[in-house]
């Protein structure tokens, strides 16, 4: 039983990190129809800038805020310089964002050096609790809680605020949103910046979780995020949460019980969903 609970917590924590990364991606794809392969680069910048801010301030809260700010600024620059000229052209989007992903990774090496960096868990979140035979690692529980809080905040914004309604309406029919007098390009920019902030948040939370960070980490996790977006349904926030938890749990349980299949399980999950429900588990379109 304790093994199952530990695997569950591990899977949920990994799932939440992937969710934070995929949530931005799904909004960007759903609303803006943009395939952003540079998303992983924003995640890696979140991790590195977070570690840097933590070293500077010794405050994990400031590290998180610093990483989010880095994500917002990079998101602004990326949308204005890289994404804006290629709206509506998927091939160009793939080429330029893949290229920009490499630029972001290489820039990390320029700024922070070519080697891996160690990332410490903040003292307050280090260690674990033992409840009976179950060991609960504090930091993993923290990630799970943050994931649910972020989900709650974004669900509130999407469901209960005017900007959220506009974003949801834009996912369904961009042309009509503009015809109602809303500057959709400005909304695109805000969504892109929010998505980048989520990617950076995921990165800074990932750093102490994995213990080391490296410039190429963005691409590895971006692939998982893309799988989650496909499984959850393009543009669906709850879909991304469910899919990320599924991917996290499947990875956790398979790594223990059938290690040989642990890498393939995500692809298998995606293939099954695509066969039986090609639009994904949820759909944001009306």
């Amino acid at each position: 039983m304790e093994l199952l609970i530990n695997l569950l917590i591990n899977g949920l924590a990994t799932g939440m990190l992937i969710f934070l990364l995929a949530a931005g991606l799904t909004l960007i794809f759903g609303l803006m129809d943009v395939l952003n392969f540079a998303h992983g680069g924003l995640f890696a910048w979140g991790a590195f800038s977070g570690v840097w801010f933590y070293g500077l301030t010794n405050s994990f809260t400031l590290a998180i805020l610093g990483a989010i700010l880095t994500g917002v600024v990079l998101g602004f620059i990326t949308e204005k310089l890289i994404i804006k000229p290629v709206y509506g052209n998927h091939v160009q989007q793939i080429l330029i964002t893949l290229g920009f992903m490499i630029v972001l990774s290489e820039m990390l090496k320029v700024v922070f050096g070519p080697n891996q960096l160690a990332a410490k868990t903040p003292p307050l979140l280090a260690g674990s609790w033992e409840i009976g035979d179950v060991i609960i690692i504090k930091y993993r529980l923290f990630i799970i809680i943050i994931g649910f809080i972020v989900f709650g905040i974004f669900q509130f914004i999407l469901k209960r605020t005017k900007i959220g309604l506009v974003v949801r309406a834009g996912v369904m029919n961009k042309e009509m949103v503009q015809a109602l007098g809303i500057n959709i390009k400005k909304v695109f920019l805000y969504v892109f910046m929010a998505g980048a902030a989520l990617a950076a948040l995921s990165g800074v939370l990932m750093a102490p979780y994995s213990g080391v960070i490296y410039a190429e980490m963005g691409m590895e996790f971006a692939i998982l995020a893309f799988i989650v977006v496909v499984i959850g349904g393009m543009g669906s926030f709850p879909g991304s949460l469910l899919a990320a938890i599924l991917v996290g749990l499947a990875g956790s349980f398979m790594a223990y019980y059938v290690p040989a299949l642990s890498l393939a399980v995500n692809m298998m999950l995606m293939a099954i969903v695509l066969i039986f429900r090609p639009q994904g588990l949820f759909t944001a379109k009306g």
């Binding site: 005017k162 309604l165 506009v166 949801r168 309406a169 369904m172 029919n173 042309e175 009509m176 949103v177 503009q178 015809a179 109602l180 007098g181 809303i182 500057n183 959709i184 944001a284 379109k285 009306g286």
Partner: protein
């Protein structure tokens, strides 16, 4: 009456296709101007071009004494033009309430009073207030689309084929609503159903192969059997 909208020799390309090849007409304030023509004549593209959704390649569009042919769509809408597209453009996963909320540019007392007015005009919408737009009937979607365009204080409403695919009894309701709306705003209507168009319209513009063929008073067209036969296939 003053001219609210003037479309002057407008040409529009969609991709490589030259759809509008010289559309010209005027809409006077307080009137209902009807765009008539066969399927594919360019009526819907004319409305989309006015809205900036398929921008004009050449020609001039003047609204309220301002040139708008180069303006982005959102700017044209906030300038005072409401749009009811042919496919109604309902946000299917949003409720009736949310559809109206997205459309409302201000939520002050005046806007809320206007919302009350449109709900009196379309009581079905009040009834299905919390229902998703995607689950409404065709007639209810049409009403919601019109209500959404009317909930802001628009000087001009562009309504594209409001009777399309609706049952006769629903068409009657939609007609009543348009008659009520015309008391408060200027309307440009695209309509295939000539009986409906002739009852509502004050003036007409005939479009054929992307060009304006003729404009005039609706009552003159009603009596002109040759024109109706030649360009509308009726009479």
């Amino acid at each position: 009456m003053s001219i609210l909208l003037k479309v002057d020799n407008v040409h529009t390309y969609i991709g490589q296709y030259h759809i509008l090849q010289g559309v010209s007409f005027e809409a006077k304030a307080g009137e209902v101007s009807v765009l008539l023509g066969r399927n594919g004549a360019g009526k819907t593209t004319t409305l989309k071009t006015i809205m900036g959704l398929t921008p004009a390649t050449s020609g001039k569009i003047t609204f309220d004494n301002k040139s708008i042919e180069k303006n982005p769509t959102y700017d044209i809408a906030t300038g005072g033009i409401g749009y009811v597209p042919e496919d109604q453009g309902i946000f299917g996963a949003l409720t009736v309430e949310e559809n109206l909320k997205v459309a409302m540019r201000k939520e002050d007392d005046a806007a809320l009073a206007r919302q009350e007015y449109v709900l009196e005009l379309f009581p079905d919408l009040k009834k299905y207030w919390k229902k998703d737009g995607g689950h409404l009937s065709g007639g209810q979607k049409q009403m919601l689309s019109m209500a959404r365009a009317f909930v802001n204080e628009s000087k001009l409403l562009l309504i594209d084929e409001p009777s399309k695919g609706l049952a006769p009894v629903v068409i009657e309701k939609v007609m009543e609503a348009i008659n009520e709306m015309k008391k408060q705003t200027t309307i440009i209507l695209v309509e295939q159903n000539f009986i409906m168009a002739s009852k509502i319209g004050d003036t007409y513009t005939l479009i054929d192969d992307g060009e304006t063929v003729q404009s005039g008073l609706m009552r003159e067209l009603i009596d002109n059997e040759e024109l109706k036969r030649k360009y509308l296939g009726i009479g």
